[in-house]
């Protein structure tokens, strides 16, 4: 009799997959620290003259397109007004940010991160797919059950925009704020429309990066913060049960 009783299936062990290469993880964290320091010290530098202009020149008697109150101490590095030290932080970590990104781009090109993981496929860009993925996001489903390790299309697009668009834009507009660099590449300064335009674009790029960070962290939390953060530390990611 006892033998006839069907045995309950043992629960399937949670499936884990190796999702992030060591190069990606290393760059992610180095870059995360660098970006936070750049934002904090950048806001302190902004506090020294919290007005933005378009064009070559711009000072107190010229017309700013944006004028903001000073950023509070919790958002700035250092916490108390100190332009000199903020510059030290900003210029030191600018090197970490720029050379880190350059190295990441080269390594990612070689190890296939760019060619495989970030590559956009035509089918993904079809309106029907975009709409379906958008609805999946609203339902908090972020992974294709067939290929759970792959980035979804919005992930790909946002990573591409950040890595190849916003961070390089912040770096190049930042370089154009240096009078020494201007002597080396006056054409780049002209491309951005003059030093005060470059300063404005630098600030806009930083604001866009901040927006990315907020959305990125929100999605990390919605997708399961512990699993996501662990995968960016160890590389191993547990496939969510509804997908397994």
């Amino acid at each position: 009799m006892a033998d006839a009783e069907p045995r309950p299936e043992p629960p399937a062990p949670p499936r884990t997959i190796y999702r992030h290469r060591v190069a990606t993880r290393l760059w992610h964290w180095i870059n995360a620290v660098a970006i936070l320091i750049m934002l904090g010290s950048g806001l302190m530098i902004f506090n020294a003259h919290p007005r933005l202009y378009w064009g070559i020149y711009g000072a107190n008697f010229d017309h700013p397109w944006l004028q903001l109150p000073r950023w509070p101490g919790w958002a700035t590095i250092p916490a108390h007004y100190n332009l000199a030290l903020a510059r030290r932080w900003h210029l030191l970590f600018a090197l970490v940010l720029a050379f880190g990104l350059l190295l990441h781009m080269v390594v990612s090109l070689i190890n296939g991160h760019i060619g495989k993981d970030l590559r956009l496929r035509r089918a993904e860009l079809a309106p029907r797919h975009l709409w379906a993925d958008f609805k999946a996001h609203l339902a908090l489903r972020f992974h294709d059950p067939a290929r759970p390790g792959a980035y979804n299309i919005f992930q790909k697009l946002s990573y591409i925009v950040v890595i190849f668009g916003l961070i390089p834009l912040a770096i190049f507009t930042g370089l154009c704020l240096s009078p020494g660099f201007n002597a080396f590449a006056p054409w780049l300064l002209e491309l951005f429309g003059g030093r005060q335009s470059a300063r404005s674009i630098h600030f806009i790029a930083a604001a866009a990066l901040t927006l990315f960070i907020v959305v990125h962290l929100t999605l990390v939390i919605l997708a399961g913060a512990i699993n996501e953060i662990r995968s960016m530390v160890t590389g191993w990611w547990r496939v969510p049960e509804e997908d397994a």
Partner: protein, 249 residues
Amino acid sequence: MTIFTRRTLLVGASAGLLAGCDSVANNPLGRKLLLSDEKLHQPLQRLLIGRTARAPEYRRDQMSPFFRTNGTRKPDTPAYQALLDGQFADWRLRIDGLVERPLALTLAQLRAVPAQTQITRHDCVEGWSAVGEWHGPRLALLLDAARLRPQAKYFVFHCMDRFADTPYYESIDLVDALHPQTILAWGMNGKALSVGHGAPVRLRVERQLGYKQAKFIERIEAVASLDGIGGGRGGYWEDVADYEWYAGI
């Protein structure tokens, strides 16, 4: 609830990072590391720029309609007032230190030296910029006349303005001193240099930030090292705050 805690953790972690930055800056080793940015940027920039690449120059119609003043608007010493009252007739520009032939030039003599005009951008370390037209002789011409000794590596600009009791000063090295756009400006925007902008003479070193553009100059001293001058870091703001001596960035 868990989400709230995780979010608090993340926000807390980044706030902790920002606060941690201040404790790094207060620690002697951290401070040393932090202040090393200049040691990386200066050689990198010098490598990129070279000795003679020029700062951008602008057209007349690209000039700031109003060029604001900053720093000392007027030195508040009786000595400066006396010079100003005499229209700088008693002012002398001394060029001394490691030179074969120390000079003491009157303003008339300085104005007799062949001058150049350049419309350039003045970038304050705070972030604002103003475009103005500067007029004066190349510093290199005057240094040639004073005949530099081979040991001369830096040039210290001693100024007549005081911050509390500390005299303002700045310094540059040979590369910038001999640069074709480095001039001693006695004219600005077609007029004699105003008091607010550093009368009678200010430095223009166009590939660096505003605080290097010393105003109210009375003496240029050629030295082998910046040790022992002021606080030893090569300039007033470098001494009293942590501003970079190399202000090309």
